[in-house]
């Protein structure tokens, strides 16, 4: 029987090619997106899980609140690590990692875009990276040792054995490669291509939150208790070190209680909140206390999209199966007459669903292979079907999804089809009650509701992105090229000593302005903190170090006072500062020029106020910024910004590059356009945009296929009615409108609900932007019109054929 049923199923699939295609293709599109998203999910959740020991590893950071300002940093101070290592009995090991550098030199070759980071000798004991070469116990024991990721080792050394080779992280510092770790098998939130042994400075200041700090607890230790104890050690140290700042009395002996320490910190530092934060490394990639949970959110959104898409495909499957019911009725009748049980028929139809789902599954694997490269490009990933988490695990997940799909897609058709009354169908009467049609209509509404929501969201996201791209950011970054300074000496060159270089570049034909900066205009320097005002008030400011003509180059307007000028060289390079409007507002100054502000124990005199301009991401308000022009060894001005006239841009750019090779000899020039770096800020929105585009297109397309099939079904059901109407003199037009009417109501109704749903979603999404568009109602209307018109065309295509058939043919057929 099984063989025969299989034969019937296959022959039916072949007989109704269009139906089969829509069904299988729709399902495989849904499955393919689901598999891709599963791959992504598996990838993101696999971070920092490669070794059981990682369950005991925590990253230490700090959460501070001073006045109204709040800060969360995933870094801790050097003295913190030292204290914990000495005084905590629950900690097995602790390791710090510095910000590192961006270049590795081997022989004469410079490798850029790498992250080479300094660390303690305890790194591999704390975070057990899997070494493919070298010994974890000794790899970082010696002062000048370095370990490389397998990817970097392959890039640098090709087939050579890297162990024992000498590499440099700047022209003066040589390191010997002592090991290679398998970065592909060790996905981690820690971005690093190499770790070198570094001697961290001996710093007693608890407030210098400089280093990424990882703590591994001993086995069997109560983690919550250990974290509590570490938190108390932190507060104790922090409170004792605040003595210099304030007047609170501190007991000399014993560990301060949490309450005592907090009270002292409140009195001395004015801090409302001050706590060490320890988060398990296994969670960091998906959702971190410090970096937020954008990845988690992205995954939720993607999963929701995939589930919706799959739901639409299931709905299509159900609808199409029932639309085809008439052609199966006779077979069902005959089988029943021959004594087949209803349950056997239900089994048969489930088996058919299984068969089609199986085909869809294999097709979806092909689609995944085809789609993955663009998906990877979109999200900057390297996902593959055969990646580190076993393929078997993925197949198990997919099998689960497939089972759910089979039940959802197959249940109603199986029950519906097996319910045919043999006495009726064998007389040639295939019509069933009107009950079923309502369910199918409801399913169509759900489909168009989902598709409509996607479409509206896509259009509104597009509108917001266009708005953001064209928004006046408060500065002009067009035609600005950036050169990365690579020589530490040049980065830390004092303003007056750099001036000849600046002038040299300015003399190039076509160069308009030249300046230096510690960071891109939309990135913070990575340094911010409290600046004290005179009236015992403080504001949190972003430290920014610049050079002459910075504001002029970026076209940032002066609100009051003056810019830094060579004429005021002496004063400016000692203690002059420029702030932005936000800083002035935060300080509460009506006339900021001439006011004083204290940062790092130095008093700065405000000489000018500039207009705010937009900080990264459009999600946050511009931050209070403190611009300075003096040289500071910790904050090198590592970027040269050069504004070039639009005419002959390319050739001027080349001339600048040529000139720069003469200024900084021995390095290849690394330059880019400021606008390109801006594109990176926009990237995450672009991704969302493109994902929505793909999803809304596919869901809309599948929904239309559903309508197409249902229209075909309806037309077939009403063939006799149409013939009789024509017999009585009805025009083709009136028949078209008759058939379209029902569908129009469905689609417009579904889109009506979609309008409400997407309004709620989009209101929330738009509210994350400080600069947002007005809700574009026209796009809602447009979506409804698009849905209505495409439906009209689809249904009319079917109806046209029927309306133009000679009535005699139709009536005879009946």
């Amino acid at each position: 029987m099984f063989k025969l049923n299989l034969k019937i199923a296959l022959r039916n699939l072949l007989k109704n090619k269009a139906y089969t295609f829509i069904n299988i293709f729709g399902l495989s599109a849904g499955l393919a997106s689901f598999i891709v998203i599963l791959l992504y999910l598996n990838f993101e959740t696999s971070f920092d899980k490669w070794d059981n020991q990682l369950k005991r590893v925590y990253r230490a950071g700090v959460h501070l609140a001073i006045g109204d300002e709040e800060a969360k940093w995933p870094w801790q101070s050097g003295i913190f690590s030292k204290t914990i290592a000495e005084r905590s009995s629950e900690v097995e090991s602790i390791a710090r990692i510095n910000g590192g550098s961006g270049v590795l030199i081997y022989d004469q070759d410079f490798f850029y875009d790498v992250s080479v980071r300094g660390t303690d000798s305890t790194l591999l004991q704390t975070i057990p990276f899997t070494l493919t070469q070298g010994d974890a116990k000794t790899a970082l024991a010696k002062p000048n040792s370095i370990i490389l990721s397998k990817s970097l080792a392959e890039r640098v050394f090709k087939s050579e054995n890297p162990v024992g080779k000498v590499v440099k992280i700047n022209p003066n510092d040589s390191y010997i490669v002592t090991g290679v770790w398998d970065d592909k098998q060790n996905p981690s939130h820690i971005v690093a291509d190499a770790f070198y042994r570094w001697k961290f400075p001996d710093d007693q200041n608890w407030g210098n939150y400089n280093w990424a700090t990882y703590i591994k607890l001993k086995e069997g230790v109560d983690a919550a208790k250990a974290i509590e104890n570490i938190g108390r050690l932190y507060l104790d140290g922090r409170a004792r070190s605040s003595r210099s700042a304030g007047t609170a009395k501190i007991p000399q002996n014993g560990l301060l209680s949490v309450e005592e320490a907090k009270a002292i910190l409140k009195e001395n530092n004015g801090s409302a909140y001050d706590e060490a934060v320890l988060e398990p490394v296994t969670n960091i990639n998906m959702s971190s206390y410090f970096d937020g949970n954008t990845k988690e959110k992205t995954l939720y959104v993607l999963s929701a999209l995939a589930i919706f898409l799959l739901a639409i495909a299931c709905i299509n499957f159900t609808n199409l199966a029932i639309a085809q019911a008439g052609s199966r009725a006779k077979e069902i009748g005959v089988k029943k007459v021959m004594g087949s049980y209803k349950s056997a028929l239900i089994r048969q139809f489930f088996m058919e669903t299984l068969l089609q789902c199986g085909m869809a599954f294999f097709l979806s694997l092909i689609l995944v292979e085809l789609l993955l490269p663009s998906f990877n490009q979109l999200l900057g990933l390297e996902l593959s079907l055969y990646q580190y988490r076993a393929l078997g695990f993925l197949l198990l997940q997919v099998a689960g999804v497939l089972a759910v799909v089979i039940v959802l897609a197959g249940a109603y058709p199986a029950v519906y089809l097996s319910g045919f009354n043999p006495a009726m169908v064998l007389k040639g009467n295939y019509n069933r009650s009107a009950k079923g049609i309502w369910l199918r209509k409801a399913l169509i509404i759900v489909q168009f509701f989902i598709a409509g929501t996607f479409l509206i969201c896509f259009l509104v996201i597009s509108a917001q992105l266009t708005y953001m791209r064209n928004k006046d950011l408060g500065f002009n970054g067009e035609n600005v090229m950036i050169i990365n300074i690579q020589n530490l000496a040049t980065m830390q060159m004092a303003t007056d000593r750099f001036e000849p270089i600046r002038q040299r570049l300015k003399r190039i034909d076509g160069v308009m302005e030249v300046t230096r900066s510690s960071n891109y205009p939309w990135n913070t320097s990575g340094s911010s903190g409290n600046a004290d005002l005179e009236q015992e008030k403080s504001v949190m400011v972003d430290d920014r170090f610049i050079d002459y003509d910075y504001f002029k180059l970026l076209d940032i307007k002066l609100v009051s006072g003056r810019f830094f000028e060579p004429a005021h060289f002496k004063a400016d390079t000692v203690n002059a500062a420029i702030i932005n409007e936000t800083a002035a507002k935060a300080a509460g100054w009506k006339d900021p020029v001439g006011q004083k502000i204290n940062r790092w124990g130095v008093e700065w005199k405000i000489v000018g106020v500039v207009r705010d301009f937009n900080a990264p991401g459009f999600e946050t308000q511009p931050k209070a910024a403190l611009y300075r022009i003096n040289d500071n060894a910790n904050f090198s001005r590592r970027y040269v910004l050069i504004k070039i006239a639009p005419e002959n841009f390319a050739s001027t750019r080349q001339k600048v590059i040529d000139e720069w090779t003469k200024i900084e000899t021995g390095f290849p020039v690394r330059d880019r356009l400021l606008t390109d770096t801006f594109a990176k800020v926009m990237q995450k929105y672009d991704r969302l945009h493109r994902i929505m585009q793909a999803f809304s297109f596919v869901t809309f397309f599948i929904s239309l296929m559903g309508i197409f099939a249902l229209a075909a079904f309806t037309v077939k059901m009403r063939t006799k009615e149409i013939a009789v109407r024509k017999l009585l003199g009805s025009s083709t037009g009136s028949i078209l409108s008759l058939l379209n009417r029902d569908f129009m109501f469905l689609v417009i109704g579904a889109n009506g609900v979609a309008v409400i749903a997407s309004y709620v979603i989009l209101r929330k999404w738009l509210s994350t932007f400080i600069y947002q568009i007005e809700m574009p109602w026209m796009l809602y209307v447009l979506t409804i019109i698009v849905a209505a018109v495409t439906t009209l065309l689809t249904v009319s295509f079917q109806a046209w054929k029927s309306a133009n058939t000679h009535p005699a043919t139709a009536l005879k057929y009946e």
Binding site: M1, L4, K7, I8, R11, N12, K15, K330, E331, G333, V334, K335, K336, V337, M338, G339, S340, Y341, K342, N421, P422, A423, L426, K427, G428
Partner: protein
């Protein structure tokens, strides 16, 4: 063989009740060939459907060799139908996706006949029906007469005790119609009991007994003298 007593069947729609079978008593002897006649809507198809357990009745009893069938569960009815009954329809009702051979084989598969025996029995009946050269064809490739012969073969292949035929010649021209009637007579002579619904008195003339129905009643029964002799 079949004993039907005081059978009632009512069709209900929202506001109309139609009594299709209005207290019918009827018997069919083993080996008989009975035709049921009557105008459209007289209840003859309903009666046949009830006999085939394809429809239910409101009241009455239906004994088959003394076994009451109407009270059986639908699963038991399926079992009974599978073993004991064969059906022939006006519109053939062959499964379009299956070949002639496979269509005929179907009842044997449902009756769990082993594969080798199935092959043998199907081939035997195909030869008997003169459709051997068509065995691997699909139903659409056959003429109406041939299709009905396949349907008859399918109804007979598992050697049911009763064949129910609903206007078996209704979609055929007279020469093909006669062929099918002769086939049924042959089967009957070989011992199969047949109950047939028909409009055609020509077809009815092939049978032993004609039951005339009107408005759900049996109005009269005539024994066909030329054919009834061997039974009486």
């Amino acid at each position: 063989m079949i004993q039907i007593e005081k059978l009632f069947k009512v069709y209900k729609t929202e506001d109309v009740e139609t009594t299709a079978i209005n207290g019918i008593d009827m018997t069919v002897k083993e080996g008989e060939f009975v035709s049921i006649m009557g105008p459209s809507g007289c209840g003859k198809s309903t009666l046949l459907n009830i006999m085939g357990l394809l429809d239910t009745a409101e009241k009455g009893t239906y004994h088959f060799f003394g076994k009451e069938l109407l009270q059986l569960s639908s699963r038991d009815q399926s079992d009974f139908r599978r073993k004991n009954m064969g059906f022939v329809f006006q519109n053939f009702n062959l499964i379009d996706e299956l070949s002639v051979f496979e269509n005929i084989e179907l009842p044997l598969i449902y009756n769990k006949v082993p594969s080798a025996e199935r092959k043998q029995r199907v081939n035997a009946i195909i030869e008997r029906m003169n459709i051997g050269h068509r065995a691997s064809h699909l139903p659409q490739q056959l003429s109406g007469g041939q299709q009905q012969r396949v349907a008859v073969a399918r109804a007979l292949v598992h050697q049911p005790r009763l064949i129910l035929a609903d206007e078996p010649t209704g979609n055929l021209d007279s020469s093909h119609g006669n062929e099918v009637m002769e086939l049924l007579c042959e089967m009957n002579e070989a011992g199969t009991t047949i109950v047939m619904v028909t409009h055609s008195s020509h077809d009815a003339s092939f049978t032993n007994r004609i039951v005339n129905l009107k408005d759900g009643h049996i109005i009269n029964q005539t024994v066909n003298k030329s054919r009834a002799t061997e039974l009486i």
